[in-house]
Symmetry: C2
Subunit: 120 residues, 2 copies
DNA sequence: ATGAACTATGAACCTTGGTTTATAGCAAGA
DNA sequence: TCTTGCTATAAACCAAGGTTCATAGTTCAT
């Protein structure tokens, strides 16, 4: 599979594939080269990249993912994942509160909008 | 109230207060100047800034908040808030799935980690 | 066998949300 | 009054996560 097809199947621009590769975010086992030096991607890279995208969306940084992908100690990886689960749970709680706030804004009940209106 | 106190009460660095002001994110009504050209902040700005921080954390961009704060049409503001509520709901759904994924990673059940291990 | 589309590389560039620096004028307690 | 700390400004800088550019070789349908 070449870059273009990976791009199609992951919805990531080819430039992003290169960017991730530069960052060492794509283990070498997923990529080889053909006789023209073109990258040849393993089928599995598609699912892998989808996972990476999900984790990035979730708030993992590339640096953090490198820990998961690298040969860091299992303890370090576990700690990282646990921290992130905690972070997600906190985020979920905040999101609940925020939805209420936004609904109040819609209903004109939030002070925020009152203050904004007062400004004009 | 001067910058330092606003900073203390909002936990935002003074540099950030200036940055938000430069971006027009702080309505003029909240800030005046004393005889030395020092900014004098209204009491209400503290709560306002806390709301702004929350909305930024939520995924609003500064550009979007400017729409809410500005004299844009109420329809535009309402649409923006509705979009964001939708976005939050989608995010919540994704977070649920992601927690499961991360727990699988912890349990060694996720393909992601398998692939990472395979890479070494 | 040719032109449009794909691939390669390194380096420069971009956007967002801030922070830091350089320079200078007030403040306020010891 | 001296010193430490707050205030002002514009402009430069930063980190993250990518994207674009310049240049050159490759592929494939027509």
């Amino acid at each position: 599979m070449r870059a273009n097809e990976v791009s199609r199947r992951t919805a990531l621009p080819v430039s992003t594939l290169r960017f991730y590769e530069r960052k060492q975010l794509i283990p070498e086992t997923f990529i080889s080269r053909d006789e023209n030096n073109y990258r040849v991607y393993d089928e599995e890279v598609v699912q892998y990249l989808q996972d990476v995208r999900m984790l990035l969306t979730l708030g993992f940084t590339i640096e953090e993912l490198l820990v998961l992908v690298s040969e860091s100690s299992p303890a370090a990886k576990t700690a990282l994942v646990r921290d992130k689960i905690t972070y997600i749970q906190e985020l979920e709680a905040k999101l609940e509160a925020s939805k209420n706030f936004l609904n109040d804004v819609l209903a004109g009940k939030a002070n925020f909008q009152t203050r904004c209106r007062a400004a004009h």
